[in-house]
């Protein structure tokens, strides 16, 4: 049982959840994740951790509301409890002084990238932050990144903030630099990670991605999170979640992530205990 300290919508459909978890807060490192259950008999969902406060004994998670379980999470209020919050799981991001590191993130990945950038900066790296979103209003935590970043680039599909276009504008960003970054780290949706990896492979820049496959136990027991990396079978929960983006079989990864889309939709429509009816950022009739 973990107490919810706070839950708020950060930008439309994107929520911040602060949970009391003192042992996890004392142990967690950037790049690691937790597994939550939103309610008894709920499914187990892996979520990256975006921040923590060891003194307060809390961890913060940014998640996107996409289906039944995240819908339930999105309805939590301060003082509620969730039955499961277990972690920290997975291996932490490898942090040392690499030189210049470009951190590309989008969606919920903007949240999980924050502790990575904090640590990179602390280790003496120059951090170039790239945030990607459909539109300016979907970008959050910009003020957190400003003091940590050497430069910040934003890419929006509609051009409402920074460069207009897609993740492939990363090529322009890199070409515009005096020298290419020593390393790139990508957190976010599969599309963002796969395409960034594709671009940087041709440029020969080492790229680390933080994979987010379906998981059940998160301790290596079930094997549902397996992914092909460098032609070898890896379990994202215990071997990852970070891998060399150039070696990941992205086509397979995407297919595995989508394995239960139909079933999730069916459950959402038929049996989900309570539809998300919170009012923030949504039209009310």
């Amino acid at each position: 049982m973990n107490r919810v300290i706070k839950r708020e919508m950060v930008v439309p459909n994107m929520h911040l959840l602060v949970v009391e978890a003192p042992e996890i807060a004392a142990k967690i490192r950037p790049g690691q994740f937790v597994i939550l259950r939103a309610e008894e008999e709920g499914e187990r969902i892996p979520l990256s951790v975006a921040d923590w406060d060891e003194e307060q004994g809390t961890i913060s998670i940014i998640f996107m509301e996409v289906g039944a379980s995240t819908g339930t999470l999105a309805c939590l209020k301060s003082g509620d409890t969730i039955p499961t919050c277990v972690g920290p799981l997975g291996n932490p991001t490898e942090i040392s002084n690499f030189g210049t590191v470009m951190c590309v993130s989008g969606c919920y990945g903007i949240g999980s990238m924050y502790p990575v950038i904090k640590e990179l900066k602390k280790a003496g790296n120059k951090v170039l932050t790239v945030l990607e979103a459909r539109s300016s209003y979907l970008i959050y935590w910009l003020n957190r990144f400003i003091p940590l970043s050497e430069r910040i680039f934003t890419i929006t599909r509609d051009g409402s903030l920074g460069m207009k276009g897609h993740v492939n504008r990363i090529t322009d960003i890199i070409n515009g630099l005096a020298s290419p970054p020593d390393m790139i780290i990508v957190n976010g949706c599969t599309f963002l990670m796969a395409h960034t990896s594709e671009i940087t492979k041709s440029l020969g820049i080492k790229t680390i991605v933080n994979l987010n496959p379906i998981m059940i136990d998160g301790t290596g027991m079930c094997g549902v999170c397996r992914v092909t990396v460098g032609n070898k079978m890896k379990f994202a929960c215990v071997d990852g979640p970070e891998f060399n983006g150039h070696e990941v079989d992205w086509k397979e990864f995407l297919a595995r992530r989508k394995a239960y889309v139909d079933e999730e939709t069916l459950y959402f429509r038929k049996s989900a205990p309570k539809p998300a009816v919170h009012k923030e950022g949504k039209c009310q009739s």
């Binding site: 920290p88 290596g220 079989d249 079933e263």
Partner: protein, 469 residues
């Protein structure tokens, strides 16, 4: 005390009442219904009460089998269960999933005549009888010693250690990584073979004895063994064999290819069999192949049938005679309609354009000379490849020990197979104040062996703690 000896040897082993195959293949209720008091007494009466009972030597925890049988004969079930529980703290579980035919029952003197006593069934009867009583007699507990013990993993080994040590007056906490206690009894063995309420009952029992159970806690991640040693006087590691093997053949990461652990965990722990009533989604595949021939393979195939598969089959590389599953389980599977493709080995999984399994390519095998295990080695027959159209494949070829704890505990030695090095008699590992037992030491084995190892470790831990200032 001496029960009347039967005048004539009765070789009629009493059958276990079961759900009919037609009925049970459509539900998740327990297949075997259990003996009635009458049948149990009739069965126990057949026991010859041997002076030197060989059955006891066949039991990994040396249960006084003639002893509890003699109470059952008299209808004194309370004394029977008490005698049974002196050696076995999980009789309802062992009575169901122990391979008695290769342990106690294999040693029964009546076996030669084909009428061995159904020891497991009587054991199960006693345990179930006790559960129905309104008040369970609690064993006496020693005075508190002030010593703190952490047990890592809540499977059969962990539950046993915890139960034994708490009675000796120690303060015991079990740490479980998942959200429900029970280990493989909860996530692995299906409802129709081991109802979850029985596992829950056993967990409740140790809780009643005073054991604290902490779920959602991954030792090695949330806290390391070294950090725990600062708080606890001794630690027992019973983290089991939970890292699924795959075959390293093409296409294993296609959608529709599962490890048995995933398939069974979705169904059991996450209650996928209730989907779409439950939140964890599952696929209702029509044609399901299970690779492997053990109990887990049988569990998977029988689960697939119950989920509505029209074709559930076992693909096994050796022949029927070498099946590692209990005879009872493979017979149950066959009765329910599971098809057996023997002497067959998958060599590749072939997918469709969306990354879903479509066909399994197999090769035919024949049996050669016996190998190290004493079983005849399966040999590929050249140019015998063929394909079977399938929607799902479940890989049930075994598990390695879970590496999480060994990998995060310096000085805790492992063998080449990844199992923990531990003394066979005491369970002591290569780290001071750390014991281990169950599948993490032996590799995937049985519930009773894990329990036996827990027993031994508890004894050794208690000895150590009694000397410790």
């Amino acid at each position: 005390m001496n029960p009347e000896k039967p005048s004539k040897i009765d070789l009629n082993r009493n059958d276990m009442p079961k759900q009919s195959p037609e009925e049970r293949r459509h539900n998740f209720n327990e297949v075997a219904l259990g003996y009635t008091a009458e049948i149990a007494m009739t069965e126990a009466k057949r026991c010859l009460q041997c002076k030197k009972p060989r059955c006891v030597t066949g039991c990994p925890v040396e249960i006084d089998i003639p002893g509890f049988m003699s109470f059952v004969v008299k209808g004194d079930f309370a004394s029977g269960i008490k005698r049974l529980k002196e050696k076995n703290c999980l009789p309802a579980v062992c009575g169901r999933v122990c391979p008695q035919e290769s342990q106690c029952e294999s040693q029964c003197i009546l076996r030669n005549k084909g009428g061995e006593i159904a020891i497991g069934r009587v054991e199960r009867f006693l345990a179930d009888w006790e559960a129905e009583q309104s008040e369970i007699e609690m064993p006496p507990k020693a005075k508190p010693t002030g010593k703190k013990i952490a047990v890592v993993g809540s499977g059969p080994a962990g539950i046993t250690v915890a139960g034994d040590l708490v009675l000796l007056g120690h303060e015991v906490t079990i740490f479980e990584a998942l959200h429900k206690a029970g280990g493989v009894l909860t996530y692995g063995i299906p409802e129709f073979r081991l109802p979850k309420k029985i596992v829950a009952r056993e967990v409740e029992y140790v809780k009643k004895l005073g054991v604290k159970v902490v779920t959602d806690y991954v030792v090695g991640k949330t806290r390391s063994i070294d950090e725990m040693l600062e708080e606890y006087d001794a630690i027992f590691i019973g983290t089991g064999a939970g890292l699924p093997w795959f075959m390293d053949i093409p296409g294993e990461n296609l959608n529709g290819v599962y490890s048995a652990n995933e398939y069974l965990t979705r169904m059991n722990l996450m209650q996928g069999y209730l989907y779409p009533g439950s939140a964890t989604p599952i696929k209702k595949h029509a044609r399901v192949a299970v690779v492997g021939g053990g109990n887990v393979a049988m569990d998977s195939a029988r689960t697939a049938l119950r989920m509505g598969a029209s074709d559930a089959r076992i693909i096994y590389r050796r022949s029927h005679a070498e099946l590692p599953a209990r005879a009872e389980e493979s017979e149950n599977a066959e009765e329910e309609g599971v098809v057996f493709n023997m002497l067959t080995l998958p060599v590749a999984y072939i997918g469709d354009e969306n990354g879903w399994l479509k066909e399994i390519e197999c090769i035919r095998m024949e049996l050669g000379e016996p190998d190290a295990s004493g079983r005849r080695r399966p040999v590929e027959m050249p140019d015998s490849n063929f394909r079977i159209p399938m929607d799902a494949a479940i890989c049930a070829i075994g598990n390695s020990p879970n590496p999480l704890v060994p990998a995060t505990t310096p000085g805790l030695d492992t063998t080449r197979r990844g199992t923990l090095v531990a003394d066979q008699e005491t369970g002591k590992t290569t780290r001071d104040r750390v014991w281990a037992g169950g599948d993490i030491v032996t590799g995937a084995a049985t519930v009773i062996l894990a329990m036996g190892a827990g027993r031994k470790a508890a004894r050794s831990m208690h000895e150590f703690l009694s000397k410790k200032p």
